[in-house]
C-alpha cells in the first residue's frame, strides 16, 4: 500500500515512516502542508496521514484543497490539539478518520487497514462469511454451520463490523466509535465484556474459534488461527 505521511515533527515522522515500512507499506513523507498537497495531488496514494497543525498550510486546509480538486484519497488526521470539537472540524473538512496524539501504533495500523479496505469495497454485499459463520445483512440473521445464532441488535452490529474487517485487527476504540458511536475513553474495558458475550454465542461448542484476541491491540475475526 502507498501511504503519504504529512508530519512536521521530524522525530514523530521518522518513527511513523519506519513503522509503516516495517509493516510492509510504501511510504512518502512531507514536512509541510504545501509539499503534502502537491504530493497527494501528483501521486496516487491509498491513504494519507495528515497532522492537523502544519507549517505553510494547515492540515484542515490541505484536506479541503484536496477534496476541492476531486481527490478522494482517504485521510486520517493526527492531532495534538485539544479534542472537544476538533474531531468534528477534521471530519467536516473531508477527513475520514481522526486520531489524537499520542496514539498506539497498533491503533494507527488498524485504522489505516480499515480506511484502505473502505477504499476498495467489494460489490455491495448482502451476506458476510468467515469460515462457517454466515451473516445475512438483509434478514439480520446469523448462523454458524447449521446452527442459527440469536443475536441482539447491538451484537449483530458488532459482529457485522468485525466480519467486514475480517482478518484485520480491530481495536476497542474502533469498536466503541463504530458500533456504539461513542468517542470517549471508557474507564473500564466495557468492550471486552461485549466481545466475550459475542464469543460465547459464536464460538462456544465449535471446534475452531473464529474470534481472536490480539495481544496489546484488540480483536480479529478470521477463519484459521
Amino acid at each position: 500500500m502507498r501511504i503519504l505521511v504529512v508530519e512536521d515533527d521530524l522525530e514523530a515522522q521518522r518513527y511513523l515512516v519506519n513503522g509503516l515500512k516495517e509493516a510492509g507499506h510504501v511510504v512518502d513523507d512531507a514536512e509541510d502542508g504545501e509539499i503534502g498537497l502537491s504530493l497527494s495531488l501528483s501521486r496516487p496514494y491509498d491513504v494519507a496521514i495528515v497532522d492537523r497543525m502544519l507549517p505553510k498550510m494547515d492540515g484542515l486546509k490541505l484536506v479541503e484543497e484536496l477534496r476541492q480538486h476531486g481527490n478522494v484519497t482517504p485521510v486520517l488526521f493526527l492531532s495534538a490539539l485539544s479534542e472537544v470539537d476538533d474531531r468534528v472540524k477534521g471530519l467536516k473538512a473531508g477527513g475520514d478518520d481522526y486520531l489524537t496524539k499520542p496514539y498506539a501504533f497498533v491503533e494507527l495500523l488498524a485504522r489505516l487497514d480499515a480506511l484502505m479496505r473502505r477504499r476498495h469495497p467489494a460489490a455491495v454485499k448482502t451476506r458476510l462469511q468467515v469460515g462457517d459463520l454466515e451473516l445475512d445483512l438483509l434478514t439480520r440473521t446469523a448462523k454458524r454451520g447449521e446452527a442459527s445464532i440469536d443475536l441482539q441488535p447491538r451484537e449483530f452490529r458488532l459482529l457485522e463490523y468485525l466480519m467486514r474487517h475480517a482478518s484485520q485487527v480491530v481495536t476497542r476504540t474502533m469498536l466503541l466509535e463504530s458500533v456504539w458511536e461513542y468517542h470517549f475513553d471508557p474507564q473500564t474495558n466495557v468492550i471486552d465484556v461485549h466481545i466475550s458475550r459475542l464469543r460465547a454465542k459464536i464460538d462456544k461448542g465449535f471446534e475452531t474459534p473464529l474470534l481472536h484476541t490480539v495481544r496489546g491491540a484488540g480483536y480479529m475475526i478470521r477463519a484459521r488461527a
Binding site: 485539544s82 472537544v84 489524537t100 496514539y103 447491538r154
Partner: protein, 470 residues
C-alpha cells in the same frame, strides 16, 4: 399570553402609577379651582345683594312701605338679574318680580340658593338664584336675590364632564403606556434573544444597536463590548489549552512511538517486552488523565457550548445503559433503566454520555456482587433529573463534597484503577449545562443525580419569544 406579559412589564407599571398620580392631582387641582372660583363669585353676588338690602331698607325707613314697593317695582325687570319680593308676614306678595315665596326655609343673615320659575312672554323656565331675606319693621319680609343660573349651569356641566375627562385620560394613558411598554419590550426581547443564542453557544452574536444613542443603545453597546471581551477570553483559553495540549502531547507522542518501535523489535516473550508493555500502559494512563483534565478545563470554560444541540436524555441513558449493562451483569449486579417520558434538554451529547458513563462506571465499581443499579430520568419541579442509584457502600455524608474535587479518591477506592477525575468531569459537564450534581444516600448506596433546570431546558428549546418579531 401577550396581555399578561405586557401588564407585568416595568414600563407598563411606571406608566400606570404615573397615570394614577396624574389623575389624582389633576382632579385635586380642578376641585380646588372650582371651589375657589365659586367662592369668589358667591362673595361678589352676596356683596351686591347686601348693598341692595342696605339701600332698600334705607328707602323703607325714608319712604315707608308704599315708597319701598315703588322702588322695588321700578327695579323689577322681568328676565333681569336682580330678583326681589316684598311680602307681608304671611308671605303674601306686595311687590317684586318673583311669582311666589320659594319653598325653602330662609335663615336670617345667611345666603341660600333656590330655584324659581321665570316667565318671559309665554315661556316658563326653572332657574337658579341666590339671595337672602331681610325682615323689615312691621313684619314685612324682603327677599333680595340674584339670578346665578348661568354660573350654576356651567358648574353642573363642568362636574358631569370632569369624570369623563379623567376616564378618557386614563384610557389614553393606558394605551400610551401599553404602546410604550411594547416598544420597550421589543427592544428588551431582542437583547434577551441574543443573550439566549449566545448562551446556547453562538458567541459571535451581538445585540443589535439602533444608532440613536438612547439608553438601550448604551446598554447594547456595553453588552456587546462585554461579549467581545468574553469572546477574546474564550479564544485565549482555547489557544492556551490547544498549546498546552500540543506541547505536552508532542513529547508524549514521541515517547509512545519509541516504545512502540521497541516493542516491534523485541521478542514478545522476553522480559524487556513485558517491561516495555507496562511502560506503554503507564503512558496510556497518563494520557487518559491528561485528556480528562483537558476535557474538564474545556467543559468548565464553556468551550463545548458550540456543540450544544437539542437532545433527548433518554437516548443518552439508553445508549450508556446498553453499553454498561453486560459489565454490570458480569459482576452479578441487577441493572435496570426506569421507564420515563421524553426528556429534551439543550446539551452536548458526547459529554453527557461520558458523564453518565462515569457515574455508571463508578456505580458498577463500588457495588458488591448481588447489588442493584438503577438509572432513571424524572421530571421534578426543579428540573429534569437524571440519576444513577446503586446499593453499594455509598459515600459518607462528610466526604460527598470532597469527592467532587479533582484527584480525590477515598480510601476504599485507592486500589482500584481510575484517574480520580471521573466525578470532576461529571461536575464540569453539569456546570456546562447549568445543571447540578447531587450526591445523596440511597439507603444503602449512593444516588448521584444530575438536575437540569427547566428554564435552561426550555429557554433554549424555542427560538421564538412570545412578543418578539410579530
Amino acid at each position: 399570553m401577550r396581555a399578561p406579559r405586557l401588564f407585568r412589564t416595568v414600563a407598563f407599571r411606571i406608566v400606570f402609577v404615573y397615570i394614577a398620580i396624574f389623575a389624582v392631582s389633576a382632579a385635586g387641582l380642578v376641585a380646588f379651582t372650582y371651589w375657589n372660583t365659586k367662592r369668589a363669585l358667591d362673595t361678589q353676588t352676596d356683596q351686591t345683594i347686601d348693598a341692595e338690602i342696605i339701600g332698600l331698607s334705607e328707602q323703607y325707613q325714608r319712604l315707608g312701605l308704599g315708597g319701598l314697593a315703588d322702588v322695588i317695582m321700578s327695579r323689577s325687570v322681568r328676565g333681569g338679574q336682580g330678583l326681589y319680593l316684598l311680602t307681608d308676614l304671611q308671605h303674601h306678595p306686595i311687590a317684586g318680580n318673583l311669582d311666589g315665596w320659594p319653598q325653602i326655609i330662609f335663615r336670617p343673615e345667611s345666603f341660600v340658593e333656590f330655584n324659581y320659575e321665570r316667565r318671559v312672554g309665554g315661556l316658563s323656565t326653572l332657574r337658579r338664584a341666590r339671595g337672602r331675606v331681610f325682615s323689615l319693621t312691621g313684619g314685612f319680609q324682603l327677599l333680595v336675590a340674584r339670578d346665578v343660573h348661568e354660573r350654576h349651569e356651567t358648574v353642573r356641566l363642568f362636574s358631569t364632564t370632569l369624570p369623563w375627562s379623567l376616564m378618557l385620560m386614563l384610557v389614553l394613558g393606558l394605551i400610551g403606556g401599553g404602546l410604550m411598554s411594547r416598544n420597550l419590550l421589543a427592544r428588551l426581547d431582542s437583547i434577551n434573544e441574543t443573550s439566549r443564542e449566545i448562551m446556547a453557544g453562538d458567541l459571535a452574536r451581538r445585540v443589535p444597536v439602533r444608532g440613536n444613542d438612547d439608553e438601550f443603545d448604551m446598554l447594547a453597546t456595553s453588552l456587546n463590548r462585554m461579549l467581545d471581551r468574553i469572546e477574546r477570553l474564550m479564544r485565549g483559553m482555547r489557544e492556551v489549552t490547544d498549546s498546552v495540549a500540543h506541547d505536552l502531547r508532542t513529547p508524549l507522542n514521541r515517547l509512545r512511538n519509541r516504545i512502540d518501535a521497541a516493542l516491534r523489535r523485541l521478542p514478545p516473550e522476553s522480559d524487556e517486552y513485558v517491561e516495555m508493555e507496562s511502560a506503554a500502559f503507564e503512558i496510556d494512563q497518563l494520557i487518559a488523565t491528561f485528556n480528562a483534565l483537558l476535557l474538564i478545563a474545556e467543559a468548565e470554560a464553556g468551550m463545548a457550548r458550540e456543540a450544544m444541540a437539542r437532545i433527548d436524555l433518554r437516548e443518552v441513558v439508553e445508549g450508556i445503559a446498553e453499553l454498561y449493562a453486560p459489565l454490570a451483569e458480569e459482576k452479578g449486579l441487577a441493572f435496570d433503566v426506569a421507564p420515563s417520558g421524553e426528556a429534551m434538554i439543550a446539551g452536548n451529547k458526547r459529554l453527557l454520555a461520558q458523564a453518565l458513563a462515569n457515574l455508571v462506571d463508578n456505580a458498577i465499581k463500588y457495588t458488591p456482587e448481588g447489588g442493584r443499579i438503577r438509572v432513571s430520568i424524572e421530571n421534578t419541579p426543579s428540573g429534569v433529573a437524571m440519576s444513577v442509584a446503586d446499593s453499594g457502600a455509598g459515600i459518607p455524608a462528610e466526604d460527598r463534597a470532597r469527592v467532587l474535587d479533582r484527584f480525590v479518591r477515598l480510601e476504599a477506592s485507592r486500589h482500584s484503577p481510575g484517574t480520580g477525575l471521573g466525578l470532576s468531569l461529571v461536575v464540569a459537564v453539569a456546570k456546562l449545562h447549568d445543571a447540578r450534581l447531587d450526591l445523596a444516600d440511597n439507603g444503602p448506596g449512593l444516588k448521584a443525580t444530575l438536575v437540569f433546570p427547566h428554564d435552561t431546558a426550555r429557554a433554549r428549546s424555542s427560538t421564538s419569544l412570545p412578543l418578539a418579531a410579530k
